[in-house]
Amino acid sequence: MKAKHQRLALALVALGGIAGAGVLAASALRDEAAYFRTPAEVAGGKAAVGEAMRLGGMVAKGSIARQSDGLTIRFVATDGKATVPVEYKGIVPDLFGEESGMVADGRMRADGTFVADRILAKHDERYMPPQMGEMPKNMKAPKNVKATAWP
């Protein structure tokens, strides 16, 4: 009788734990999963001001402007359909350049500029989100740098 109760208690603890973890995961996924947007989607009004997101696109030719403080850069991200101005303060990754792909983590400012906290260049060997493969076909793919590290 007693053993049975204990097993029941254990099962209830486990069940409660799993339910709690499920709720936690669901709410965290809803809040924290960063949505990946293209400039066309941003132009289409899909990105709310202040909402954390990832912007993927190509750096438009001739658009990189370095500011006089030496640290801030501005450029235009494009997907061939629309453009979004991006501002970033920091050291850009090695493979960042004009006409190459990039992904920026950040949020939209009210004036329509995307303020990036972090920039990842396409084939920056540090990281490349899978969505980069989804960039429009008409864009020239930057030279492939073979990434062969495991694990």
Binding site: L10, L24, A25, L29, S68, K146, A147, T148, P151
Partner: protein, 656 residues
């Protein structure tokens, strides 16, 4: 000739795996007893031949034999020797052969050393191991032949990705692999014991050292990988929740859970079904990880070339192994379930909670890793980042640590709350002291780092409690192991908390002669100069860091450019400079030159971080691995044998 010989050895080894499997099955179905005698030597020979084939592949890389496609694609005759050797496993085919070699060698080791199991269970285990390696032999020989020749040998190879030309990364994959594949042995033991229905303390004791061993390597691999990412990538972070990091963390979590549940099965003959289940989950997670990384489903630092065919092959293998093991488990679970009874408040009870928490964290991490893949298949593009993982894994990990505080202080079978409470005052006091200290003097600290450091204080004190009142020299090694590993968790947690709570960052465009203040340091930017490396050129910055007490240290961060080989684009990497002090690390990265309005590059972007106690994170990881090693040494009874021998000798000496 070397390449052809290597390929031939692989085919023979595969045939031996086939032989072990067939002989094993026939024996278990009531065939002649002689068949069992075949399985052991076949397993050993399979291990030796696969190792020889791997040795030959290394030889091809050492000789820079460009007529072999793999060498031409991944090596270069100008590379330093150590990286030629490491290039052997720095690619898909080579690392698969490494994986297979470890798989086969561990089968051979079981065949030689395992003496505790019944013969039929041992044969079933070896047959299961042979079945595993057979699948990977098929994968290697049919879709990823490492010994493939090129019709025309190029004059030189394409070289290895410069980021990989790093001593840390050369030895990181093999370490992690031993851990991954070591879990295959636990898997085979579980399958073997399920087949012969011999699940109990003997089986758990046989499996335990393998679980400990592979978990040690996983711990070392993850710790080393984290440190590599920290100093090499120039981001200054030690964990990114990158999908590939996650798939190494998931088997580690399974291993940690298995380690604790197998202890219960071995000493108390309880949690039997759960232990078997975890052994199946552990290796399944290794395979899921390999599949995710190799299938091209996600692209990351670590993934090799995208190849759907290989992905499908792995998916089929995975379905057969995991599905087969789970089916077997479902069929036999009823007969293994019952075990010895225990109260909820007992050592067993705490280990059950530990297991539940570890598997929940495992499931949540796996969910976050797979969710974007599934969402993308359904047409939605999302990416799951650190905020999710921190939110779900952080609190659970802290609760897990509190269970870790109580567990070792509880007695087996049954305990009572008052007794537990009476053993905790010092630990609670330590936690309270840390908490008050942080609240009073820490300034603004986030809730997770605050709790992390507080729990670290509690764990640090409580982990030492099992040694209280004991004769330290007579304390058994596994107890020492537990104490050291749990203390390591506290050290690691303290490092993580302090780093994220008190990190300081400066980003400046500095001209030579400028002073940058960060934390207690004053850093003078002395200027830059070009330097030449063996296969790269670099700009090296000189920074002189002066501490509050006046000590001076020179730091030399570099921005390196590797020339493109065979038509590939040049690659640039950052070499951060690290200054390690007792209180933490100063981390410096040299960025791009800043051109003035007149077009002159007179300033440089420099990023500095002061990271308090950051090195405690890896120290903690090392302590966890050391603790597990002590435990393994104790379990393997090596020390006991050695001691008894010495004892006998000394007795002989004093004998009249």
């Amino acid at each position: 000739m070397i390449a052809e010989l290597g390929l031939a050895l692989l085919w023979i080894a595969a045939a031996l795996a086939c032989l072990s499997l067939v002989a094993g099955i026939l024996f278990l179905r009531g065939g002649p007893k002689d068949l069992a005698a075949l399985v052991r030597p076949a397993s050993v020979a399979q291990g030796v031949l696969t190792a020889a084939a791997f040795g030959l592949l290394i030889a091809l890389f050492v000789r820079s034999d460009m007529s072999v496609e793999l060498v031409a694609r991944n090596s270069n005759s100008l590379k330093p020797m150590i990286f030629k050797v490491a290039g052997t496993w720095g690619n898909h085919e080579g690392s698969m052969l490494l994986w297979l070699m470890i798989l086969s060698l561990s089968g051979g080791l079981i065949a030689i050393f395992e003496k505790r199991l019944r013969e039929d269970t041992l044969v079933a285990t070896l047959a299961a191991q042979a079945a595993l390696s057979l699948g990977f032999f098929a994968f290697l020989l049919f879709s990823s032949n490492p010994f493939k020749r090129l019709p025309v040998a190029p004059p030189d190879g394409q070289g290895l990705n410069p980021l990989l030309q790093d001593i840390g990364l050369a030895f990181h994959p093999p370490t992690l692999y031993v851990g991954y594949v070591g879990l295959s042995v636990a898997f085979s033991f579980a399958v073997g014991a399920l087949i012969t229905r011999e699940i109990g303390p003997a089986f758990a004791r046989a499996m335990r050292p393998w679980v400990l061993g592979s978990w040690i390597f996983l711990t070392l691999g993850i710790t080393a990988g984290s440190y590599w990412a920290y100093y090499e990538l120039g981001w200054g972070g030690w964990w990114f929740w990158d999908p590939v990091e996650n798939v190494s963390l998931v088997p580690w979590l399974a291993g940690a859970a298995l380690l604790h549940s197998v202890a219960v099965t071995a000493t108390r003959n309880a949690l039997r079904a759960w232990t078997v289940m975890l052994a199946v989950i552990g290796f399944s997670m290794s395979m899921v990880g390999t599949f995710i990384v190799r299938s091209g489903l996600l692209t990351s630092v670590h993934s090799f070339a995208v190849d759907p065919e290989r992905g499908t092959f792995l998916l089929v293998l995975m379905a057969i192994y995991i599905g087969g093991a789970l089916t077997l488990f479902a069929l036999r679970a009823g007969s293994v379930a019952e075990g010895k009874k225990f109260a909820l408040l007992s050592r067993e009870g705490s280990l059950v909670i530990n297991n539940l928490l570890l598997t929940t964290i495992l499931a949540l991490v796996l969910l976050g890793t797979l969710y974007p893949i599934v969402a993308e298949a359904m047409g939605e593009k999302i990416s799951v980042g650190p905020p999710y993982y921190n939110k779900v894994a952080g609190p659970l990990a802290l609760i897990l640590c509190l269970v870790m505080v109580a567990g070792p202080l509880l007695s087996w079978r049954k305990d009572d709350g008052k007794r537990l409470w009476s053993r905790l005052p010092l630990a609670v006091f330590a936690g309270a002291a840390v908490l008050f200290g942080l609240v009073l003097f820490g300034g603004k600290v986030g809730i997770l780092p605050l709790l992390g450091m507080t729990v670290a204080g509690v764990v640090a004190v409580a982990s030492l409690a099992p040694l209280w009142g004991r004769n330290l020299r007579r304390t058994p090694l596994p107890t020492w192991g537990m104490v050291v590993a749990h203390f390591g968790v506290a050290v690691c947690l303290a490092g993580m908390g302090a780093e994220s709570a008190f990190i300081k960052e400066r980003l400046v465009a500095a001209a030579p002669g400028d002073d940058i203040r960060i934390g207690d340091f004053s850093v003078k930017f002395a200027g830059v100069k070009p330097v030449a490396g063996p296969n790269y050129t670099a700009i090296e910055g000189t920074l002189v860091a002066t501490t509050a007490s006046g000590s001076r240290f020179t730091m030399r961060p570099e921005a390196r450019t590797f020339p493109g080989l065979m038509g590939t684009a040049p690659t640039e990497t950052n070499e951060a400079a690290l200054l390690t002090r007792p209180g933490g690390q100063l981390y410096a990265v040299l960025g791009q030159p800043v051109t003035s309005d007149e077009g002159r590059a007179d300033r440089y972007q420099i990023r500095l971080w002061w990271k308090p106690l950051v090195w405690w994170i890896w120290l903690g990881g090392a302590l966890i691995a050391i603790g597990a090693t002590l435990s393994l040494l104790g379990r393997a009874q090596l020390l006991a044998i050695w001691r008894s021998r010495r004892h006998r000798k000394s007795q002989e000496r004093f004998a009249p």
